[in-house]
Structure formats: structure tokens, C-alpha cells
Amino acid sequence: MNPFAYTSPKSTGEASSLATSKDHSLPVLKSGGMDLLDRMKEGLDTPGLVIDLTRIDDPALDRIEAGRIGARATLAAVSDDEAIRESAPMIAQACGSAATPQVRNVASVAGNLLQETRCWYWRMERFDCVRKGGEGCPAREGEHRFHALFPEGPCLMVHPSNLAPALLLLDGSVDVVGGPRTSIPMADFQPDPARDWRSTSVLAPGEVVTAIRFDPAPNSGFVALKQKQSFDWPMVSGYAVLDLDGDVIRSARTCAGAVAPRPRLLPAVDAALAGVSIRDDAAIRKACDAATEGAAPLPGTIYKKTLLPVAIRRAVMAAANPGGDA
């Protein structure tokens, strides 16, 4: 790890100024620091200045309420929060499924959104690739069992955040300070990976995330299919938000995680679910099978094509029975 200067500003405004200061190369913001530490140890990030946001005395950064979560709130706090569990169970479930209890006690919601890809080639400094600004993608001919089922652009990564697809489905947005805008819709938070495959977000230097906002969705559900049940990233994850009229799905919105470089909305599934009864297992299955439309599996990701409709269907059922056995 390279030497770096460390500072702990007292306000987000000060943090923003520091982040654009010319006194240090590559200043970086840190809250939980879970991912940053790994990247620094591997030499992927070489910040000259680490700006620690954990000393900022602003309770709003940690506050959790229906529809709004402070950027610094931990994944553990979100998953345990009664208001979130009732108003948007999918958010609580997604946060509660990530990593381990130890990590969830430290990792922040903003850090989860801004987490870098888990691609093992990208994560090893010795490999060159398009996402690092170099050539090619070693995963394409290499070991890619955890890579994309729906590649977009030249990088085969999958988006690593459990939270991002949930926010996207709930018409979420990200509050920011330190720039010309105060809010970024979740749909615009990440650049189109077919055009910009290097950036994790559209945040400009000096922009600091202060909160996430989202619509309530008591009928929402999340399911992660993981190889290991302790400390693993999903092979495939499913997200669903339902508008129910009794047992009948008036409208549905679904999304898949861990299959593409960004959360993948599934409009074909949504259309097929409209008007279907949640008790009509055959119709639900048929609708969820549409999730694989457009899939372009690599030899090692064919199994994800089997998993995807299952994850979506189980998320739909979880959304239909919030608080039930997911």
C-alpha cells in the first residue's frame, strides 16, 4: 500500500473541497472503507489523500426513515430498521444479505452503491483489461463463471451492489452535495456501460453522496442465489415490486442483479406478470421465464440462465408475501 495523507473533515462541504484540492493526487472519500482498503492493498487505488467521512458531525448522514436513508447508515442498521422492513422490505433484505455481520456493521449504503466490481481479473493488479483503460477482457476466454449473462460493452463484469437494483426499481435517487446538482436519479447514477465501461458512477470529483431516496413499496422482495450462504456475492439475484389487487398482480416491476454490468430491468417479465394471480404458479413461471430474453451466456455462465427465472419468481413470491418465508 502506498503512503497517503489522511484527513477527517467536519462537514460534507469541507469533504467536498478537500476532494477537489490540488494539494494531493487522487483524493478519495471513505466511509466504512471496506472496499477501499482491499483496493488500496492490491494497488488498484493509490490515493494521495483519504478523506474520512466518519467524523462528520451530521446525524442526517446516519438517519434512516421511510423513503430516505443517510449515506453513512450501515447495512446492518438498514436491515434491522423496522420502518424500512415495513415500507420497503426489499431494501432491508438486500442490505441484510450482503457479506457478513462484521462487514454489514461497518459498510455504508453509499459505499455499497459505489463498490467496485468483484471481477477477479479486475481485482488483480497484474491483469490489464478494458475497464482499467487497457486492452481486452481476460475473462472472456478465461474463468468467467461469476461474470455477465447479459454483457453490455467490452467489459464482462457484473454490478456488485445488492442495493442498486432495489433503488432502481423504487424510482430511487441519490442526494449529493458539492456540485451543481442536488440529486441524481438512480437510473442515471451509472453511465451506460456500452459507452463508458470504466466508471462506477457519474459522480464528479467533489460530489459527496449524502442520502438515498426511494418510493415506499410494502410489496417488494429480494432473493439472492448464492453458492455459499455465509459471505458470498450472489450468482444471480432477483428483485420484484408488486402492485396487488387482492391476489392479482395489477402491475409488477422486476430487476436482476449479478447478471449484467448494471442492474437489469426486465420489462418483458413485468408485462407478462400484469393481470396474473399470485396463486397461478404456472403463469408466474411462464412470465418469469421471459427474464432470460436477450441472454448471451458465455460457456461458464450458462447456468445463470437457469438460475435467473428462479430468482425472479422467488422475488415475486417474496414481494407477494412480505414478512413471510422468503
Partner: protein, 710 residues
């Protein structure tokens, strides 16, 4: 659901020498007070790091030794090679005054490598891809004479040791001598090995390993990290610290080699196996040996065997070292799954088939208990279930040899009644400290609280390295002999002073008694000593009437659920029955069984070293991608200590890891109706197996010879 779901504490009550003793070092380990070798840090020590090749095969194009030496704090750069044959291979080392300087020095060194073509899989070898060869000898006739033939290929991955405390040592030279704090399974072996690097006589070297954070067979040798530490300490004359980091630990400290096994066997419709050809290929990385697998195990009658067909296959990765029951879990996986496939073809209960082919009386009795505890009667017919979640039951077996080695143990009796037990043998995690204390306390007749135990130091009396599960069987007799000498000495004093016949005296719960009459408390008897007395117990390593000459045997049964929509395998319960002669202390004995099951289940479901096929770089040399079983993946484990009247202590460390993966693979076969012949049992593999038809059954009435290729 499962059978009676018993509490193992009830089952095991009264089976061991010390039923209620808790680990003497449990609190120290739980609180962090225990000082592991890696915890020996000094402000003035030098840090050592090997310079390693980052690719499967590469030559060094350039490096800047002067730039590295110019980094403040870098004291030495040693380059001894210019090519690497695997990711993690080393060409020298760097020494620096701080970890920071070490890392900056490595950066400044700026080693540039030219990558070359490399082999990353045993499938790169034509011998492995070839079909099974012609059967030779009597086995050929036996297969020819049998009603049916069965052919299949099985494989297991490279499993790394993944020790939480990585390999390494801290050396403190002191004039002519040195103290070596090594993370080792063999205090005396390190003393033998490090001297030539340190340039010191063996008699002046003290090796210390009070606690070890993981040792499964890879910590007998000092390794390159130890050799470099020795050389650096010799040069500087000061303290040196050299421990692998997490990545290095996965790359270059040994592993359980991969296995590919081709089987052709002949059997009759009733399940009788007449003969088999077995070909094995061990994936040994760059090593030329060490890839053997124990198959056939000898536990089952497989008829005439054409089985001397082993070849080690090289590729560009770090080589193997012994790992907990070397060769056995992979052999058991193949043999036991193969038996279940035969049982299925013949329409026989796999447990019934085992009873027929296995002539061990002890395992025969264990089969009954395992079946009862796991609920075998509820086992569904293989392939009979539909629906997304399917339950399966599987059973598998193990045995382990009767190795013992000479050992000495010293007992010091202090005038305040305290007993000090001293043995140089280390505790590899088995509970050596507690076991030795318990043997002495029980044998003398005083509470364990009277005893302290010093272990893991080469200045203490000699004993074996922790390998082959010989440690406890070797040191327990020595501890018992020492305890007898100490007790007899004190009783002789009491008899002389009180005019009693020493043969009538005994010690019961800390009180010297003659018949029912209390004579004197242990502490008061010891007060009469003018100074501490020391006695040495010795064991010659040979079997005798008390310590016996038998092997350890075991049977494990697993219950799994398989999500057939996702291919996920959930191990719900494992019953692990294990004989080990006389279990010394119940808790650490159970803990050995539980640990073996956990490691075996992790091997069954998750663990595998993954190489990049183009470059040979190891992609998962960390605990994110090298997946190890976690709390939520852990089954309910019921360890059953099986004593059946045996006296001497026998092997317990290794055997429990042997059958677990096999039992789980059999349970998965039972649940989904198709065998998954490759470990680990990943979701993609389970889904692929589910896409295959259920293997056909041979009607028991059939007598015509049929060729069925599996």
C-alpha cells in the same frame, strides 16, 4: 426428517478419560491472550518477503536491484533465480527494517516478467484425456466373468490448507544461539532444518510454538519463507520476521492435490464386485510426486484389482504437501460414490451393499448406529423424488493406521502440590495441552486444576511431530508413565513417614487413602518435599497390552437437501461415528470430529483452486473467492465417540475428514437420482447432472451380459 436428533453430549457421556474437562487454553485462545508465533513482534526486527513470479510460467526480463536497495530501510536484496514455473514461485527475497520499507522496496525492484506458455490443468496432459487402459492380470478375467461392467470417471480439485495463521517464523538470534518462534507442526523438525540457514549448531537453537493457527500437514518443513528468514537472520545477527501473506499462503505452502480417477469394474446383478481396473492421476503442480490417492481403500471387497496405475501429472502451479489424511478423502469420494452407483444399478440399499463388502465388525456395528441417528429408514429411493427441494441420505466410511512414535514427558511435582507437565511436542489444535494434563491428573488422582502443561518448545522433552495422527497415541503413554512415577514417589514418602504399606495406598480426588481411610491431602503430602521432584515418563513407540495395536475406524452419514431449481446443495446433518481407542478428553476429541466434518463438507461443496487458463495466475488466492464453508453453511454435526471397551489412545486427528465429502456426494446422488462425479458439488454441476437421465437400473432377473457405460 432425521431420526431421534440426539444430543451428542448424552451419547458421549462416560466414554472418555476426562468427560468434563475444558481446554486448559480455551480462555487464552478466545480472549486473544494466547501468543501465536505470528504474534512475536519486535520494534527492531527485520521483515522478509520473497520475490515471486506472478504467472504460471515466466522469465525475469529485468529488475532494479539498486533502486530497491536505495529505498530507505531496505537492507538486503537477494536474487537467486531468473525464472518462475508457477504463480508464487520465488527467485529471491528482500529484507527491510519495516513492512512499509519492504513494500516500497518490492515496488522499486520493479521486476518485469516475460510470460510463457503454461499448463494449467491436468487435462492438458494426453494421458489424462485418454480412455481407460486395457485391464491386466486376474482383474481382466474377473471383469470378463462378471454379469455387468461399469465405467466412470471421477475428479476432485486442488484444496489449499488455508491456515488462518500463515506459514512463517520469527527468529531472535542471541550470540551463538537463537530462538525461533515458528508456526509449525514439528518443533524438533524446525530445529533440525533451520540450523544450516542460520549457521548455528542445533544444540543452540530453541524452537518455540506455544500455539498454532492451523496446521493440516503443510507445516513440517520450514519452507522458502523460513529458509530466507534463517539466511537474513544469519546476515544481520538481529531479529527477523518472515510470514506469508494471505495470497502467498494459498500459492506456495502446499495443498491437497487434485485427482482424476478412471474406473472400470465388473459386477453381478446382486452387487457382488468381481474385479476392477482403477487408474489414478494426481495433479501435483510442479512437483514430481505426492499426488497419490488411497483407492481402493481396502475397506471393501472389490474382487481382483488391477490398481497399480497411478501417475502424477505436472502443471504450472504450486506443489502438494501432506494434507489431513493425504490421498484419503479423494479416494473415499471415488470409491464410496462408485459403490452407491453400483447399488443403485442393482436395486440394493447402499448400506446393505456395504455390510456385504465390508468385513469390519466394528464398522458393522457403526452402520447400525449411523443409520438410526441419521434416520436412514426415511431415505427415499434414489431418483424417486420430484419437486424443487429434494432430500438425500448418504453414508461413507474411513479407517486410519496405528502409527506411534517414541516420546518422553516430564512431570515436576512442586512442594505446593502443583504438577507441571512438560513436553516439547506442539499442539496442532487437537488439545494436546489439555490431553496431557488430563492424563496426568486422572492417573495420579488429583483435580485438573492442580496441573499446568508446558508444550511446544524444543528445550522440553522430545516427542513426535503432529503428523499421521500419532501425537496423542505416542505422548499419552509417556504422560501416563510419568504420572505413575510421580504418584509412586509421593505415595512411597507417605508410606514411609506414616509406616504404611505403599501398595495399599491410592489417591482419590486429591486425597491419599488407604482403603476407605483418608491419610493425607495431596497438597500436604507434597509439602513434605524439600524441593520439587522431577520424573521422566517414556514410551518406546511399540504396541503393548494396554495401548493396543488397532486402527481407528469410522462411519459417517449425511442428510442433504438439494434445490433442484438452483443446484444448491444444503448439508443439513452429519452423523460422524469415530473410534479412537480411549478418548482422552471428551470436548477436544469431539472437536476433532466436528472439525473434520466441517473441513470435509467445505471440500465437498466449495473449495477449489482456480487458475487462469491463459496465464496460470491463481484467481482465487483469497478468502473471497477461495470459498470456505461458513456458519450458515454448516450442518448440524453429531460426533459420536466409539469406544467399545478399547483402552489405548489411537488416531483421531485425520480419519474424520475422510468420509464426509463421500457421504455428502452419495446423499446428493440419492436426492437427485444422478451422480455428480466431480468435486466440488457446485450449483452448475448439479444442474448439469439434473439435465441427464436417471441412470438405468439392472433388473435383478437379468442374467444376460450387458455393457452399460455410465
Amino acid at each position: 426428517m432425521s431420526g431421534s436428533n440426539p444430543d451428542h453430549r448424552t451419547i458421549n457421556a462416560g466414554q472418555s478419560l476426562a468427560d468434563d474437562a475444558t481446554r486448559l487454553d480455551g480462555l487464552a485462545k478466545a480472549t486473544g491472550a494466547a501468543r501465536y508465533s505470528r504474534d512475536h513482534l519486535r520494534e527492531d526486527m527485520q521483515w522478509v518477503r520473497l520475490i515471486r513470479c506472478p504467472w504460471g510460467k515466466a522469465t525475469l526480463e529485468s529488475l532494479d536491484r539498486d533502486a530497491a536497495l536505495a529505498v530507505p530501510g531496505v537492507t538486503e536484496v537477494v536474487i537467486s533465480g531468473d525464472a518462475g514455473d508457477y504463480d508464487g514461485d520465488s527467485i529471491g527475497y528482500l529484507v527491510a527494517e519495516s513492512r512499509r520499507a519492504l513494500e516500497r522496496g518490492l515496488d522499486a525492484l520493479d521486476a518485469r516478467w516475460a510470460r510463457a506458455e503454461c499448463k494449467t490443468s491436468i487435462f492438458d496432459d494426453a494421458r489424462v484425456r485418454a480412455p481407460i487402459g486395457e485391464t491386466e492380470g486376474d482383474a481382466a478375467d474377473a471383469i470378463e466373468a462378471s454379469d455387468f461392467t461399469f465405467e466412470a470417471t471421477y475428479s476432485t480439485p486442488v484444496q489449499t490448507h488455508s491456515s488462518l495463521e500463515t506459514h512463517g517464523m520469527m527468529i531472535e538470534p542471541d550470540g551463538e544461539g537463537a530462538t525461533v518462534h515458528a508456526s509449525t507442526q514439528g518443533t524438533f523438525l524446525v530445529a533440525d532444518q533451520i540450523g544450516r540457514f542460520l549457521g548455528k549448531r542445533r544444540s543452540r537453537i530453541v524452537v518455540d510454538c506455544e500455539y498454532i493457527g492451523g496446521g493440516f500437514g503443510s507445516k513440517f518443513q520450514i519452507g522458502k519463507e523460513g529458509a530466507a528468514a534463517g539466511l537474513a537472520a544469519k546476515r544481520s545477527g538481529g531479529p527477523v520476521y518472515s510470514f506469508c501473506d494471505r495470497r502467498e499462503e494459498h500459492l506456495d505452502t502446499g495443498n491437497r492435490p487434485s485427482l482424476l480417477c478412471k474406473v472400470k469394474l465388473g459386477h453381478d446383478a446382486d452387487g457382488t464386485i468381481r474385479g476392477a481396473r482403477i487408474e489414478t492421476f494426481g495433479g501435483t503442480g510442479v512437483s514430481r510426486r505426492g499426488g497419490g490417492a488411497r483407492i481402493p481403500s481396502g475397506r471393501f471387497d472389490l474382487g481382483e484389482i488391477d490398481g497399480r496405475n497411478h501417475q502424477d501429472v505436472q502443471f504450472n502451479a504450486g506443489g502438494p504437501r501432506a494434507m489431513r489424511a493425504p490421498g484419503c478423502p479423494q479416494g473415499a469420494f471415488v470409491e464410496e460414490l462408485m459403490l452407491d452407483e453400483i447399488a443403485h444399478r442393482c436395486g440394493i440399499d447402499p448400506l446393505a451393499l456395504r455390510r456385504r463388502l465390508d468385513d469390519s465388525e466394528r464398522r458393522g456395528a457403526m452402520y447400525d448406529v449411523a443409520a438410526r441417528l441419521i434416520g436412514w429408514s426415511e431415505r427415499p429411493d434414489t431418483g424417486s423424488q420430484d419437486g424443487p427441494m429434494r432430500t438425500g441420505y448418504g453414508i461413507a466410511t474411513c479407517d486410519w493406521g496405528k502409527g506411534r512414535a517414541p516420546a518422553k514427558i516430564e512431570v515436576v511435582v512442586h512442594p505446593d502440590g502443583h504438577l507441571e507437565v512438560r513436553t516439547g511436542t506442539q499442539d496442532v489444535g487437537t488439545g494436546q495441552r489439555t490431553a496431557m494434563g488430563a492424563v496426568v491428573a486422572e492417573r495420579i488422582g488429583v483435580p485438573l486444576a492442580n496441573v499446568s502443561v508446558a508444550i511446544g518448545n524444543s528445550r522440553l522433552p522430545s516427542g513426535p511431530a503432529s503428523g499421521g495422527s500419532v501425537c496423542t497415541p505416542s505422548t499419552a503413554p509417556a504422560a501416563m508413565a510419568a504420572a505413575d512415577l510421580a504418584r509412586d514417589r509421593i505415595l512411597a514418602d507417605v508410606a514411609e513417614r506414616d509406616g504404611l504399606d505403599p501398595t495399599t495406598l491410592r489417591i482419590d480426588d486429591g486425597v491419599v487413602k488407604s482403603g476407605d481411610r483418608s491419610i493425607v491431602r495431596w497438597e500436604d503430602a507434597c509439602k513434605r518435599l524439600a524441593e520439587p521432584i522431577s520424573v521422566m515418563g517414556e514410551f518406546d513407540g511399540r504396541p503393548n497390552a494396554y495401548w493396543g495395536d488397532g486402527s481407528s475406524e469410522g462411519v459417517q452419514a449425511a442428510r442433504v437437501e438439494v434445490d433442484c431449481e438452483t443446484g444448491q446443495v444444503f448439508v443439513r446433518e452429519v452423523v460422524a461415528i469415530q473410534s479412537c481407542g480411549l478418548p482422552l478428553v471428551r470436548k477436544p476429541a469431539e472437536s476433532q470430529i466436528i472439525g473434520g466434518v466441517i473441513q470435509g463438507a467445505s471440500y465437498a461443496l466449495f473449495e477449489e483452486q482456480i487458475l487462469d487458463p491463459a496465464t496460470g495466475a491463481v484467481l482465487n488466492a483469497n478468502f473471497e473467492n477461495y470459498k470456505v464453508l461458513g456458519a450458515k453453511d454448516c450442518p448440524k454435526i453429531i460426533p459420536v465417540l466409539w469406544r467399545d471397551g478399547q483402552t489405548g489412545a489411537r488416531a483421531l486427528g485425520e480419519p474424520p475428514v475422510i468420509p464426509t465429502a463421500a457421504a455428502i456426494a452419495n446423499a446428493v446422488f440419492n436426492a437427485i437420482g444422478r451422480p455428480v462425479r466431480d468435486l466440488p458439488l457446485r450449483p452448475d454441476r448439479v444442474l448439469a447432472a439434473l439435465a441427464e437421465p436417471v441412470p438405468e437400473r439392472i433388473a435383478t432377473a437379468t442374467t444376460t451380459k450387458t455393457e452399460v457405460r455410465a
